[in-house]
Subunit: 248 residues, 2 copies
């Protein structure tokens, strides 16, 4: 009876549960009330297990499988997409943890390269030094970031990410870069850099904005939040610079 089911990696209680919610009701019962699972039931169970392992909620599994127009192919394709997303998430978290560990171990000298997370730091570090090594901003950033703890970095990453998401959301909502809301976010962006890395006046900020659209690596990095986000942010920064420098 349930030996068969237990072998499938499930408990008796799980089967009872599936019976109770109508996900898998055995066709037959012995006169004593024992559940008797047929081959067909077991096949259905196999499918259920697969979907469950893919993280599909049970009621959705039921509606999927009870749908007369049940298309296993479409379902599988969708599950594959979900899995891809999950894999990417996991990879991202792994990278974050690895980065945190490197910082903790002091193996890696944090500098401007960390300013734009997602880049290959080793590739980028030399270039950053070559382009900005002579500037005060670079020195200040290097000085500050050396003092940051793992927790600081995690927090910075989160705050940066969160702001970018809000920017992307605003753009997705159809806003123009010259809208006050967009300029406000650009201003927040400036202040974030100011707080975390180096004094970032409007002129410096404008320089960054131009780089976001001219250097395709920056563009690609920012466009992870949505296509055109880099350009939107750059335009919003420009607008904010105008606003910030005209009255003063």
């Amino acid at each position: 009876m349930k030996e068969v089911a237990r072998i499938g990696g499930l408990t008796v209680r799980t089967l009872h549960h599936y019976d109770a919610i109508g996900l898998l009701c055995p066709r037959l019962r012995s006169k004593a009330g024992y559940r008797l699972y047929t081959e067909a039931d077991l096949l259905r169970l196999q499918q259920i297990v697969v979907y469950r392992e893919l993280g599909v909620p049970l009621d959705q599994i039921r509606s999927i499988m009870d749908d007369p127009a049940f298309e296993p192919r479409a379902a599988l394709v969708e599950q594959r997409e979900r899995l891809r997303e999950r894999a990417e998430q996991t990879q991202g978290m792994l990278r974050a943890v690895d980065a945190a560990l490197r910082v903790l171990d002091g193996e890696e000298v944090i500098d401007m390269s960390e300013l734009f997370d997602g880049f290959d730091p080793s590739q980028y570090e030399d270039e950053a030094r070559a382009r900005w090594g002579h500037t005060d901003a670079y020195a200040e950033s290097a000085r500050r970031t050396k003092g940051y703890s793992t927790e600081d970095w995690v927090r910075i990453q989160r705050e940066t990410d969160e702001l970018m998401q809000r920017i992307a959301a605003l753009r997705a909502a159809g806003a123009s870069p010259s809208d006050p809301a967009a300029m406000d976010l650009a201003e927040e962006h400036r202040q974030q850099i100011d707080r975390f890395y180096y004094p970032c006046r409007h002129e410096i900020h404008r320089g960054l904005a131009r780089m976001y659209v001219e250097d395709s690596r920056f563009t690609a990095n920012l466009d992870r939040y949505g296509e055109g986000v880099a350009a939107f942010l750059a335009a919003a920064i420009e607008a904010n610079v105008e606003r910030g420098t005209r009255p003063g």
Copy 2:
């Protein structure tokens, strides 16, 4: 107040919950009873979010963070391991879904190569044909497996996997390959092949067993269930062959 918190991707209720279970209790309350989160609280919250996203249960997060000897490094290393496991799981599921899709699309002719899941089928198919293409077993296997549906394959995969896990468990428990229990599992293995692929007499089974230890690809594949599992299974099969052919 909670604007700050909501921005972090959490709901007010979540913060209440964390307060209720003592995970994050704001230091201050306004005279009206409003929760006032300090910078320190927010830092702690960031950490909590990180751990939560890594799938750590909340009470563990609490004990981790309240532990005076809290070692962020060790914690991170452990989290990395967990993430690795999760990534592997996800990858395995992706492969399974892809395989199912290929079968469904009929793009791939299933044959002996599927007998030992985890191998690169394209690499393996030619070799399998070259080595066993002239045999009756190969023809029979090809004939049978063509008729299998996606559900069949999922079930076969599960049954195979389940048996291997039982074999690995027996070995881990310190059993000898010549123990009756081990021989029984070897016999089950033989019958599984017999049912799913082709008539598998003891001699054929012995041939498979030798291949499991001589072909390092098979060894590696089976040793996914634990180091030495391939050798253990091979020895158990040999013992079972002796048992099965001597009385008859």
